[in-house]
């Protein structure tokens, strides 16, 4: 039945306990609009918003990537340069090095997050006193905004007043103001890895916890009957059955860290020099400091296609986990 006319009750329908005016209001039929039209009316605002804030800027950016637009000289006529911006980026050693820096950041931070997150999940999976309280405490960092995290870690890592340097000096004996975690070439890359791991290891813990809770108890009971040691149970049951979830966590965190901008920009702004300059910071500098809009649009497209491709793999992995 396509029309809405039959959805509401006819005029003569009576309901126990319903007053006369209310009955006449509900009994009014809606005519002329099909179910499909009504569905479109509800969906249309969302589609319009999506087109305005997602699709249109994307299409506009693709267009700009083929031009030589420089916003600091926007009075110049827009010149079509074909694939020149893409060629410039893909032969530029600086961008290549920034991508390697990004990859190193992704590899180390995801490795630490998975190791710590999985360890925490194994601990939290045991029932103990104060279990819920400690779970909440561990989850707190991932609930904070990256801007907040960036700001308060900047304070914590201050060489003169920050408690982090004092803590390190307590264990190592090195004077607190003799080193700067965000200002030294050898320490700054590890600082952004440390802060990102602190923030996102709880998220990996949550995913791993879901994986651990999905393992049926009877498998462990069967292993107990076979006199399998705890170590053997971990390698033969726990780890293999949690691997799909770990893969999911790795892919998700890798995609997120590849796009990382806000926290690193607040902590180090890509410095000292360009030691921690991730490709997203290079993009920001090209677009809003050098005003090379055409060039930065092309770089944004390269990053977009990379993330989109990785997201396809992520969705495929997610479907495999769902099928379990």
């Amino acid at each position: 039945m396509d029309k809405m006319t039959t959805i509401l009750q006819p005029d003569d329908a009576t309901f126990p306990g319903m007053s006369e005016p209310a009955k006449s209001r509900t009994a009014r039929p809606v005519r002329g609009l099909s179910d499909r039209t009504i569905a479109w009316l509800f969906v249309a605002p969302t589609i319009a918003l999506l087109l305005a804030i997602n699709i249109f800027p994307l299409v506009w950016m693709i267009r700009l990537s083929f031009t030589s637009l420089n916003l600091s000289m926007s009075y110049l006529p827009l010149r079509f340069v074909g694939l020149d911006n893409f060629t410039d980026i893909l032969t530029d050693e600086d961008v290549w090095i920034r991508l390697q820096t990004t990859a190193q950041f992704v590899i180390w931070s995801v490795a630490f997050q998975v190791a710590i997150g999985f360890g925490l999940a194994l601990l939290i999976n045991r029932q103990f006193r104060g279990h819920s309280f400690w779970t909440t405490i561990i989850l707190l960092p991932m609930m904070l905004s990256p801007a907040v995290v960036g700001n308060f870690w900047t304070l914590l890592l201050q060489p003169q007043i920050g408690p982090f340097n004092y803590l390190i000096s307590l264990f190592t004996g090195v004077p607190p103001s003799s080193f700067s975690m965000t200002g030294q070439v050898s320490l700054a890359p590890w600082t952004i890895v440390l802060v990102d791991t602190w923030m996102w290891a709880p998220y990996v813990m949550l995913i791993c916890l879901a994986g651990l809770r999905s393992i049926p108890d009877y498998i462990y009971e069967a292993a107990e009957v076979d006199r399998a040691s705890a170590w053997r149970q971990f390698w033969s049951i726990t780890l293999p059955m949690t691997v799909p979830f770990l893969m999911l966590a790795v892919l998700f965190r890798a995609i997120e860290n590849f796009k990382m901008f806000d926290m690193v920009n607040l902590l180090t702004s890509g410095g000292p020099g360009s030691t921690t300059e991730l490709v997203s910071i290079t993009l920001k500098r090209a677009a809003f400091e050098k005003w090379r809009t055409g060039y930065s649009s092309a770089l944004a497209i390269i990053l977009f296609v990379t993330v989109f491709g990785a997201a396809n793999i992520y969705v495929k992995a997610l479907n495999k986990v769902k099928q379990r």
Partner: protein, 67 residues
Amino acid sequence: MSGSAAIAKGVVSRWFRRGPWETAAMTLIGGGIVMLVQPWSIDLYSYSFVTILAGTLGYVVVSHFPE
């Protein structure tokens, strides 16, 4: 259904299965990402975007193949 149509359908179902093509597209995407961030050859870096783009577009196409 005529014989030639059945053969054609058999060929399509044998060659255009989603599983292996999706795996190939994902391998192309993964290989392209490795090419993009590896520190050894700038030539590999230069061809990385084309590889990722081919893999991504290929994935979009082959994900519509029958199971």
